[in-house]
Point group: C2
Chain length 186, copies 2
């Protein structure tokens, strides 16, 4: 942030506003405080019988690796709508949401993943513009070494472990990654 989006002045400073206890971007010209907040990544773990749907990424980061359909939640939608929209955009798949399966906080990048266990309503899926390929995988065939993100691996591991126990439930976890610099004030 170089300029104030309210008044246009090149007067953005980082300081703790009066009555606050955190560093914020503040405009020294007009006084406007520009708050920054975490973003939600909504997605699905789509299943069909004993198989799981994965998407091969056609975009960076992690081009060519496998992921669950998920992306930034948009204004004006519910978390579930966001998860279903991403599943449609990336896998052209329609799903029925069963339950919230994962809530991962990634404080180092100020993201919160919310992944829903969801059932494919039919087998009419296909690669969307952000995917190279979309496939159903049995547990034994999951490309564990070619998964795009740690949260995807965790979500799949939790799902298969739960399935063996006969009960799928919500997993909440906070992940700290040393691969990212800490960016609290961005």
């Amino acid at each position: 942030m170089n300029f104030c989006s309210d008044c246009g002045a090149k007067a953005i400073v980082e300081r703790i506003p009066e009555g606050d206890n955190r560093m914020r971007y503040v405009c020294d010209a007009c006084g406007r405080i520009h708050y920054q907040n975490p973003r939600i990544i909504a997605g699905c773990l789509p299943i069909y019988q004993d198989q799981v749907l994965l998407c091969k990424r056609a975009i960076e980061p992690r081009y060519g690796l496998w992921t669950l359909p998920a992306g930034f939640m948009e204004n004006g939608e519910s978390v579930e709508e966001g998860a279903m929209r991403e599943t449609w955009e990336e896998a052209q798949a329609k799903v029925k949401i069963i339950s919230l399966q994962s809530q991962f906080s990634l404080p180092h990048i100020s993201q919160v993943y919310m992944l829903y266990l969801a059932e494919l309503t039919d087998l009419n899926f296909a690669a969307g513009t952000e995917s190279l390929d979309v496939r159903l995988y049995q547990e034994a065939d999951i490309p564990w070494e070619q998964l795009a993100f740690p949260v995807i691996k965790l979500s799949l591991e939790n799902y298969f472990a739960d399935r063996k126990q006969g009960e799928v439930h919500l997993h909440r976890q906070t992940l700290q990654s040393r691969r990212y610099a800490r960016k609290d004030s961005e």
Copy 2:
């Protein structure tokens, strides 16, 4: 948003960028797309034996009405840390989180509430700067007509209903309110 926070030009327009399917704030001078995303409100439903902790608001909106301790999640923290921080700031109370009790999507104002059932670790609570009063309430004494927000009422109703059944679980719900104008693109 009047000015581009990147280049300072007064050239912000609303349009659908190439390869996108939503209206965005775009700078016509430098091309930067300014995305807007929903915000998370993290909070707790603090309990002590058969009582629930409520806070009387010392700030607008809904000054003087009762609420659960909750507020905007900050960058650099987990959802649970945000919920515990808000409980400390508003009620000076320390809690141990039990489970995620409510997930409410409010698409008309692009907010997602995440409220955790949490147990007070002791009875050392007090009104924080944003509260006029903090009290423990038995179910029969809850000031139902003086609750600050519909989500607070729903969360409490769900909790007491679950408690009667002997099993507390996650409630997911999308609320559309006619009291707010729809603001998808803000």
